[in-house]
Amino acid sequence: MEPFEDIKSKLIPFDMTNVDTDQIIPKQFLKLIQKTGYGGFLFYDWRFDHAGNPKKEFVLNEPKYDKRQVLLTRDNFGCGSSREHAVWALYDYGIRVVIASSFADIFYNNCFKKGLLPIYLNKDKIQYLFDLVKNDDPVVDVSLANQTISISEKTISFDIDLTRKKMLVEGIDEIGYTLSFDDQILNYEKASKVADYNKFMVKN
């Protein structure tokens, strides 16, 4: 995974609640066997009409929001299907940060595997940011190291678990890290009563 670099970008105001992963990446694009190449399909059914032409009224199709890297949205972003393709599509499209009032668990978890930073803020702060885009539309500075979103004079702090922060900042290979605990895993497999379940599995 690539380490997360601090971001300077304007915000994309994605003013919706309960955006599910079926919308972020519709199922017809889950048939690929790679992790890349999903950006063109991001929000496909909302971005394009049945003939494949961009829908003018959809926020990502407005030229002024082009190339922005921070998506601002509301409650329960990423609910529904576990498809990690949703994270890959956002990342591939160029999004590096999603700011929301809450996230669904599996999506939130998946973000950290790719280097996409999910930030949750309370509803008032989210509303403040939406108002900001509407009025001044400033560039914001997202620093993971400082856990801050800075807009000229003002700074908003955000929470993130320190282990997750470290994974993102350093771009840690999680599997390699886990394998360094091989002794503990082996011990568990030998000692645990529950691990006994596994002896019932037939040999292949």
Binding site: L30, A104, T178, M201, V202
Partner: protein, 479 residues
């Protein structure tokens, strides 16, 4: 210390407790959890295997993973080739990966093939007290056996393949009591109960939590009814839902392919009986109680599974749905527009084009038996195309043995091969733009069953009644 069922399973699977993890910088860090059972399918596994190979890594315990093909398989005749080249590549990739890494695969040619959450329990792969994961959010289904089961992303699929473990932040516990007397309640199913729960708590009511379902209603439910409830836990925001195992669970397990043999099983049952229930006075982070005594059949009207009303209700106005929440009001306006519904219209006036009985929520033998009782001797309305997609090849064979296929076909239903089918429309079974469907599946998101398609979530008997009448009806009037 008093513990919940969830905490007991969690504690017995800790390889590294967050407090002992010297690399974690605070006490709320992740713990390393051992995974007993891993299910994989063609859609969320190819990138995991590719990355394993790229890094020269092995599958740590190949015999703890089972694979099947379900998401994009055709439900037409199994003798026909898969026409869609991309789908075929995905199926072939799974087959190649399983061979290379020594993983058992139940593919389209196998009599054990089926939807991953139908075959796990069917094969006795799903056992009480275990941890079970799959790259699919409806893994919560297996919680019906008192297993801690949850969906994961593809990177975590790779992580489990390589390490048989996962880093997890400990979720909180949410008790859902289901009270009342269902035996006096005509035509109210476990699907109606779970839809009603989600209606009440919202699609994010369980975020960061594990549900435990409890109450007399649950105790009297069969395993299949329990699976329907646990299956939709994720629709209420919880990654996992649990039901403490009891005699019904143990009876279900006996004699299945991977269930331990008699003497071993008896020992395990004794262990489960004493260990797999929440302590009597344990506290939960949240408690909700649902009473079924006045519950009507439930039906979704909008584009998420909390947008649900009684079948006797009318389509709500955005204000009725949202109360004073402006964002919810906007969501409801959008949903009504997408669904092409006017507030105030009785749901029973809404006509449908398609009926789908299937999915990991409602495609098991009992679901099909119940639906067949509504169908028997009746005909599908001429304006409706209706299909039944059994959850597995075993379900299909058992159903055919008792003549259910004939009842459905005589009524005008299509009788299909097993798979996920029109629950998510990755195979050719999709709604056309504008088509309206009564569906026994779990998600009514925009475009879920096909771009522009409109989904109403209902129980199998409600779907069956709808197929006959051509519009939604209160199934209590038909049975």
């Amino acid at each position: 210390m008093q513990k919940t069922l969830f905490e007991k399973i969690w504690d017995s699977h800790l390889v590294i407790d967050d407090n002992q993890n010297e690399n974690a910088d605070n006490s709320n860090g992740p713990s390393l959890i051992y995974i007993d059972r891993h299910l994989i399918h063609e859609v969320t596994s190819p990138q995991a295997f590719a990355s394993l190979k790229q890094n020269g890594r092995k599958v740590r315990r190949p015999n703890l993973t089972l694979a099947t093909t379900d998401h994009n398989v055709s439900t037409e005749s199994r003798s026909l080739p898969i026409v869609d080249e991309v789908s075929r590549t995905q199926l072939e990739t799974l087959s190649r990966n399983c061979k290379e890494f020594g993983i058992t695969l139940y593919d389209m040619a196998s009599p054990d093939q089926g939807i991953v959450h139908v075959i796990g329990p069917e094969l006795g792969f799903t056992l009480p007290g275990t941890t079970i994961v799959c790259g699919d959010s409806h893994t919560s289904t297996h919680g019906a056996f008192g297993a801690l089961a949850f969906g994961i992303g593809t990177s975590e699929v790779e992580h489990v393949l390589a390490t048989q473990c996962l880093w997890m932040y400990k979720p909180r516990s949410f008790l859902i009591n289901i009270e009342g007397n269902l035996s006096k309640r005509h035509a109210i199913t476990s699907k109606d109960i779970i839809l009603n729960i989600i209606r009440k708590i919202g699609t994010d009511g369980g975020t960061g939590m594990v549900f435990e379902y409890r109450g007399d209603v649950i105790s009297e439910f069969s395993m299949e009814q329990r699976m329907t409830i646990c299956n939709m836990s994720i629709e209420g925001g919880a990654r996992a839902g649990l039901i403490g195992p009891d005699q019904t669970t143990f009876d279900y397990l006996r004699g299945r392919k991977y269930t331990p043999k008699e003497s071993e099983l008896d020992k395990l049952i004794e262990f489960w009986k004493s260990n797999l229930k929440s302590d009597e006075n344990v506290g939960f982070d949240r408690v909700e109680t649902i009473n079924v005594d006045k519950l009507a059949p439930q039906i979704s009207w909008g584009t998420n599974p909390s947008m649900v009303v009684d079948i006797t209700d009318s389509v709500p106005s955005p204000e009725q749905y949202a109360k004073s929440d402006e964002n919810k009001r906007k969501l409801a306006i959008r949903a009504l527009e997408y669904m092409d519904l006017e507030p105030g219209i009785p749901l029973t006036n809404v006509r449908v084009d398609r009926v789908f009985i299937g999915s990991c929520t409602n495609s098991r033998l009992e679901d099909l038996m119940e639906a067949s009782l509504v169908i028997k001797g009746r005909k599908v309305s001429t304006n409706v195309r209706a299909m039944v997609v059994p959850g597995s090849q075993k379900v299909k064979v058992q159903a055919e043995k008792i003549g259910l296929d004939k009842i459905f076909k005589d009524a005008g239903f299509e009788w299909r091969e097993s798979g996920c089918s029109m629950c998510l429309g990755m195979n050719p079974d999709i709604l056309l733009p504008g088509e309206r469907c009564a569906s026994t599946s779990n998600r009514n998101f925009e475009g879920r069953q096909g771009s522009g398609g409109r989904t109403h979530l209902v129980s199998p008997i409600m779907a069956a009644a709808c197929a006959i009448e051509g519009h939604f009806v209160d199934v209590r009037n038909l049975v």
